[in-house]
């Protein structure tokens, strides 16, 4: 009887799984018990109530308004906002630059492909953090002091304090305006799509409607804009839009690094399309560029999109390296909060939740792109 039980493969599989699950859960329980005990010994209180307390530390720059009087929760939001902004800007610019790099690598022009090859080899074989620190060192030591700022164009100043550009001062209900505009644009896009589905070609109608609606909204929310120009006052500039040295170093480093990998992905995708497709394009009398854009690229996209998704995700994750140059994205904010409050458990839980959510969102978006470009087979 027992021997029969022992020999039953199904029973053994079940027993093995139960044991594995028990071990896993047991380890978790053991770690949790240790943590509770250690926290009690160190008298650290666990809980998210610290989030409502004022943060009391400065954040040097942010896309959403922030002051040290704001709560810890808001400080996290500021960090998330900066992370999202940096990632989005880096991904967009790196994709464009990466496309150029990928095409340059494939070019028959020997100088161009040579320069692109050296660039790719140099950048992809050194760690991103070394590159970021290098750019930061370059920006802060090689650029002149504000007094002797580089002044290539009117109202553009480049110095150790960062890049000053003409900016726009907004007044009125900015948030309401931004949200309303986004809504109008989405509605207009949906309308345009619907019209196209019905076979009616009236591309101007949604665009005109949207423009009118945005203008009306601007009037309602009392939005006003005034140009703000940077000028040297004393030892620093005032007015205008400032891009800090940290931001500049981070963007240059992250974009160059990411573009190299995207370039290689795009090159690989183009190479994966059969040579016959090029020849067919030429035989049909299409120009080189038409063949690339109309025949090869749509097919290459199928190969490109999955690795590109991975690359975008790792760019979002790489943006945490901003803390090496002191740009206040989520990683730096979390590091500061842990230092200030000792609420490590909660902060790390937030970090995990945010990155896993961003990761899931990017995956979903790119899966949707993938489904759109995938070969339709029956």
């Amino acid at each position: 009887m027992l021997a029969a039980l022992w020999d039953s493969p199904r029973l053994r599989a079940w027993a093995g799984q139960a044991l594995l699950l028990f071990l896993f859960v047991g380890t978790l329980v053991w770690l949790a018990a240790n943590t509770v005990e250690n926290l009690a010994v160190r008298s650290i209180r666990v809980g998210f109530d610290f989030l409502a307390r004022p943060a009391n530390f400065p954040i040097s720059e942010s896309v959403v308004p922030y002051s040290p009087m704001d709560s810890f929760a808001w400080a996290y939001v500021v960090g998330i906002g900066n992370t999202l902004m940096i990632s989005a800007m880096a991904i967009l610019s790196a994709t464009l630059l990466g496309l150029l790099v990928g095409l340059a690598r494939r070019a028959r022009h020997p100088m161009l492909s040579g320069v692109a090859g050296v660039f790719v080899t140099a950048v992809r074989n050194t760690p991103l953090i070394v590159q970021l620190l290098f750019w930061y060192a370059l920006v802060t030591t090689a650029l002149p002091a504000p007094r002797n700022a580089l002044h290539p164009l009117p109202y553009i100043y480049l110095s150790q304090r960062g890049l000053y550009l003409p900016g726009i001062d907004w007044s009125g209900n900015g948030w309401g305006f931004a949200a309303g505009t986004a809504g109008i644009l989405v509605a207009a896009a949906m309308l345009a799509r619907r019209l196209r589905r019905q076979g009616r070609t009236a591309p101007a109608l949604p665009a005109v409607g949207a423009a009118a609606a945005v203008l009306a909204l601007a009037w309602i929310t009392g939005i006003g804009a005034a140009a703000s120009l940077p000028e040297l006052r004393g030892f620093n500039f005032s007015g205008g839009m400032r891009l800090s040295p940290e931001f500049a170093a981070l963007m240059v480093g992250l974009v160059l690094y990411t573009s190299v990998f995207i370039g290689e992905i795009i090159r690989g995708g183009i190479d994966a399309v059969g040579r016959g497709q090029w020849e067919a394009g030429r035989a049909l009398g299409l120009s080189e560029r038409q063949t690339l854009m109309r025949i090869v690229m749509p097919q290459a996209l199928r190969v490109i999109i999955p690795p590109l998704t991975t690359q975008y995700l790792s760019t979002v994750k790489n943006s945490t390296l901003a803390l090496a140059v002191g740009f206040p994205e989520l990683g730096l904010v979390i590091g500061t909060v842990i230092n200030q409050t000792g609420q490590a458990l909660e902060s790390i839980a937030i970090l995990l939740a945010v990155y896993l959510t961003i990761g899931a969102a990017v995956s979903l978006l790119m899966n949707w792109c993938n489904a759109r470009t995938a070969l339709v087979t029956r």
């Binding site: 799984q17 240790n34 070394v130 994750k317």
Partner: protein
């Protein structure tokens, strides 16, 4: 050019010389260099653009080579608009070995030599095998023993004083080496037919891959003292190594899973038909084939991990990058940060570029084998 429809030469690639197909491969017509560079408007534009780009980089050359100070004992002579390579020369021992006691620095140097020797021995695929694996285990043990000391007259050096290149190399090698068996387990778990191991493997792999390495380093450096019982203490280097190992394991697992998927199902069925138990079949039949298939992508992961070791700077481990940063903050010298980072970047470049060349060579060999 018009072809009679029936005779369209599908196989020839250069349509210019159709008759050549009969007597051997067509001769490739060499385009004169001037025509390549200035043949049409696009080419000319590209030439001018690339030329301008290269010219724009000339000041960098001037800074790095022509105006650079190569050797001086007087830091004051640096900083006149050129790179200060004399600084790197003066601080090279600090950058490479960190705060390791000066009289004992032959030990980290020996460790670097040992790593190089082991890597050289491991290069030819015919050396791969159980003996090489044992060799690596012994060598790593010897390296750690050399670094620690405390025997045979070697003074003990605690990990707090380790630093520089040996730490970088040890972190990379150990994280990959320790991560590999974990990765194999995770990959097999993910491919398992029963739900519990599959679910657990997916959970672990995806959580770790979804997290930035910085986050993982935070967790290990801050949380590990909380997670473990009061008496157990792991030093900073050990905690960092744990984070890097788990990280490497998750990424390696995905590569190995790719290899497992590439092994035809018939292999397992054949082994089972011969009466070989499942686990033995996995160990002796499926895994060796799977790992052999993914050796080129594994070298890629190795490059990624070598580069990732530089992140330990963030949690305050004294690797080569931290050492260089600390060295550059010496007030005697005129803040030669750019030079220090260039030097460190060059060392990383040499390591990673060498690995990628090796990977390319291996891949070429695999393709040759496939063709035969």
């Amino acid at each position: 050019m018009s072809w009679p429809l029936g005779e369209f030469p599908i196989m020839t690639m250069t349509t210019a010389i159709p008759a050549a197909a009969a007597d051997g491969p067509p001769k490739r017509r060499r385009t004169p260099i001037l025509q390549i560079l200035f043949g049409d408007l696009l080419a000319a534009g590209l030439t001018v653009m690339t030329g301008a780009l290269v010219l724009a980089l000339l000041p960098a050359l001037r800074w790095g080579v022509l105006d650079a100070v190569w050797s001086t004992a007087d830091p004051g002579r640096c900083g006149a608009g050129g790179a200060c390579w004399a600084f790197v020369a003066a601080k090279i021992r600090f950058i490479l070995f960190g705060v390791y006691p000066a009289d004992e620095q032959w030990r980290p140097l020996a460790v670097i030599g040992l790593v190089l020797a082991m890597v050289l021995v491991s290069l030819p695929p015919r050396h791969w095998g159980r003996r090489l694996l044992t060799g690596w285990a012994v060598a790593i043990g010897a390296m750690l023993a050399l670094m620690w000391g405390g025997f045979a007259g070697l003074p003990f050096v605690s990990t707090a004083n380790w630093g520089g290149l040996p730490v970088t190399l040890l972190l990379a090698i150990l994280s990959l080496g320790l991560g590999f068996p974990v990765a194999v387990t995770l990959a097999l778990g993910r491919r398992s037919r029963v739900p519990v191991p599959r679910f657990l493997s997916v959970l672990v792999i995806e959580t770790i891959r979804g997290m930035p390495l910085v986050g993982l380093l935070f967790i290990s450096s801050i949380m590990m003292p909380l997670l473990l019982p009061a008496g157990w203490s792991v030093d900073k280097l050990g905690r960092t190594l744990a984070a890097l190992t788990i990280f490497a394991a998750a990424y390696l697992a995905e590569v190995i899973r790719g290899g497992l998927q590439g092994v035809p199902g018939g292999q397992m069925e054949a082994a089972r038909a011969l009466g070989i138990p499942v686990w033995k079949a996995v160990w002796h039949v499926v895994l060796p084939q799977a790992i052999q298939k993914v050796i080129p992508p594994l070298t890629n992961t190795a490059i990624v991990m070598v580069k990732n070791t530089s992140l330990v700077l963030i949690v305050g481990v004294f690797d080569m990058l931290s050492a260089a940063r600390t060295a550059a903050s010496d007030p005697v010298w005129p803040a030669p940060y750019a030079e220090s980072y260039l030097f460190v970047g060059a060392v990383y470049f040499l390591i990673c570029f060498a690995i990628s060349l090796y990977a390319r060579w291996l891949e070429g060999r695999v393709q040759e084998k496939d063709l035969r």
